[in-house]
């Protein structure tokens, strides 16, 4: 008898109103003197999440983590861990481990002793500590360097030791401050998958800071985009990419074309946006509540813009321009197309033909086209 296909269980506790968050920030503010590093943040992170913090340098990512680890006092607001206010709990009593951005390896101890440091202070029986350290060394491929001191290994190796040390205790919550920045691409990919694997096995909740968007996209269950101590958007990688809630997020994550204009007509959720003299209006789908006369940004990703020699008849939007520049990236090319009003629009196309047989070259007249659902209309 044929079984009905099982619907895969989607991991999305943040959609579940009854789910209890592991971490809860309620209106948290952190000031250093008169400087506000964290500005009234409210945020929920659920058990078994892989939560990525993304944002420009100095936006408060490390500060947010340090509050969780217990190294910064909270100026106002509360942070709950498993429903309990953690403000009075000292760092050594929190079920949290942190991997420091500066690694903070103990210079007087060998790699082995660095990794064993936390285990020796836990209730793990002595005879199991050795096995656990060996396991961590294997995981980070540092077996050969176990006897060395931190100053006798390379920067990337140091990063791996710091990672191993923070993983060793298998804490409930693991804070990783740019854990993979110093690794080469291959090792980084491997380690990313290791991290996801560890998480699947141990059910640890990860909060990770990264400057690498691709990394955040690969590993994260959700991403928080931060700016100047505020959280701008929290959503899954796909949502952040496909439906950013603001120009800031659209611009920060990935490549984007932005058109600023006025809504001239609405019909249902379809709108027309006039954005420049002598250019056709953009037809797009807008969020509810968008009215005629609103000042909006239309954002569209380069890979959603098609490029063709002739005007496509059935496209909702078609704009003419000349090829200004071509960035060849191997599997794809990005065409920088200049419109008659000077604006440059990027369009991406897969290179499914050999270079010599490519369709377009510099100074060619081309048409750019996209459907009316390909981009997003942003009103902030």
């Amino acid at each position: 008898m044929a079984q009905p296909a099982k619907t895969p269980v989607v991991f999305a506790p943040w959609e579940d109103k009854t789910a209890k968050p592991l971490i809860e920030f309620n209106g948290v503010t952190k000031r250093f003197g008169s400087f506000t590093a964290i500005d009234n943040i409210s945020l929920k992170i659920y058990e078994k999440e892989f939560f990525a913090l993304l944002g420009p340098s100095g936006c408060g990512k490390t500060t947010l983590m340090r509050m969780l680890a217990g190294f910064e006092n909270i100026t106002s607001g509360t942070v709950l861990l498993g429903g309990r206010d953690i403000a009075p709990v000292p760092p050594n009593k929190r079920p949290v481990n942190m991997m420091f951005q500066s690694y903070a390896l103990f210079p007087h101890l060998s790699v082995w002793d660095n990794i064993a440091f936390g285990l020796r202070r836990s209730d793990m029986p002595k005879d199991q500590i050795g096995d656990r350290v060996e396991e961590m060394l294997r995981l980070t491929r540092m077996e050969k360097f176990a006897r060395r001191k931190p100053h006798q290994i390379s920067g990337g190796q140091r990063q791996r030791v710091a990672l191993a040390r923070s993983l060793a205790k298998a804490p409930k919550l693991l804070l990783l401050d740019e854990p993979l920045g110093a690794l080469d691409k291959k090792l980084r990919n491997d380690t990313q998958f290791e991290l996801m694997d560890i998480q699947e096995k141990t059910g640890t909740t990860f909060v990770i800071v990264t400057h690498d968007q691709e990394e955040a996209m690969t590993v994260a269950s959700r991403i928080a985009v931060m700016d100047h101590g505020k959280i701008i958007q929290v959503a899954t990688p796909a949502q952040i990419y496909e439906t950013p809630n603001s120009v800031y997020v659209a611009d920060f994550i990935g490549d984007v074309n932005l058109f600023e204009g006025n809504v001239t007509a609405t019909k249902g959720d379809k709108v027309e946006i006039a954005w420049a003299e002598g250019q056709p209006s953009i037809h797009a789908t807008a969020p509810a509540g968008t009215k005629s006369g609103d000042r909006v940004h239309f954002a569209i990703r380069p890979e959603k813009v098609s490029i063709s020699g002739d005007k496509p008849d059935d496209a909702a939007n078609a704009i003419q321009g000349t090829v200004h520049d071509i960035a060849y990236l191997g599997n794809i090319s990005t065409y920088h197309v200049q419109l008659s009003n000077g604006l440059i629009v990027k369009a991406q196309a897969a290179n499914n033909r050999r270079l010599s047989r490519r369709n377009f070259t510099w100074e060619d007249q081309v048409w750019l086209s996209f459907t009316d659902t390909a981009g997003v209309v942003l009103n902030k």
């Binding site: 390896l105 210079p107 007087h108 100053h151 040390r165």
Partner: protein, 271 residues
């Protein structure tokens, strides 16, 4: 290597001559065979022998060494604690005042330190003896230790302590197993400095010593007032030797630690 100009060479020679000729003369005369201190009568080590059979000097030496050990150990513990609190304690009330005050004994005239300690001991009815000298020496050498240790702590990476706390250490455990091993060279050189200072001290010890607890510097001073005897030269030579070794070791330990750290940092940056 740049050659020294004659001017540099002369100033260096003059400066060092000024500093060291008196001591060199003293050392040379400690090997004088004659009874008269100022007349050379051939090489001999007999005064060192006489010295070893002089009970009074040996007693004083033993007192001095005990006082040195006890006071420098106490001073190192207290000075390290003070340095730690002042560098690490955050901005508690009156911190600037405290860090200023800890340096005061460095510039305070010793006579005043000695006198005030004497008054204190009399006031609390403490009989003068080894204990009082130890307490007095602890007081005045502690600030030297804390200067040495706090300059090391300032350059100490705070996140190492945080990492220790994060991995489950209590604050005291973090200090014992991370901070202390790393600042150990500074602590040891602080101890050696305190020990040499205690060994040297005449003024404060004279205020705080009792009849049964004469230290070597006091003994020498009172002996010299009755006329310089060749044994004193020998004794002084030995003290110069001990102090020199102490100071050189202290600075070597510190310098080695600094070079090693710079070296490590360089390697880290190059990696």
């Amino acid at each position: 290597m740049r050659r020294f100009s004659w001017f540099n060479a002369t100033s260096l020679t003059l400066g060092f001559a000024f500093l060291y000729i008196p001591m060199i003369i003293l050392i040379i005369y400690s090997f004088n065979g004659g009874r008269l201190v100022t007349v050379w009568a051939g090489f001999s080590t007999k005064w060192y022998g006489t010295l070893l059979s002089n009970e009074a000097f040996l007693d004083a030496a033993w007192v001095t060494v005990r006082v040195g050990f006890m006071s420098s150990t106490l001073a190192t513990i207290l000075g390290t604690m003070a340095a730690y609190v002042l560098v690490r304690g955050g901005r508690f009330h009156g911190r600037t005042l405290f860090s200023g005050m800890i340096y005061a004994p460095l510039v305070m005239p010793e006579v005043i330190t000695g006198l005030s300690l004497l008054l204190l001991f009399i006031a609390i009815g403490l009989d003068r003896g080894i204990i009082t000298i130890v307490l007095a020496h602890t007081t005045f050498t502690m600030c030297y230790v804390s200067v040495v240790v706090s300059s090391r702590l300032i350059s100490f990476d705070r996140s190492l302590e945080e990492a220790a706390l994060d991995l489950g250490c209590t604050p005291f455990d973090a200090f014992r197993s991370v901070t202390l091993p790393i600042i150990a060279p500074a602590v040891i050189s602080g101890w050696l400095l305190a020990f040499t200072l205690s060994l040297d001290d005449l003024v404060i010890a004279s205020f705080t010593s009792g009849p049964s607890s004469t230290t070597l510097p006091i003994k020498i001073f009172s002996a010299v007032r009755l006329g310089v005897r060749p044994e004193i030269n020998a004794l002084s030579t030995i003290m110069i030797g001990i102090v020199t070794i102490g100071v050189i070791t202290a600075s070597l330990i510190n310098k080695r630690a600094v070079t090693k750290r710079l070296d490590d940092e360089q390697k880290a940056a190059a990696a």
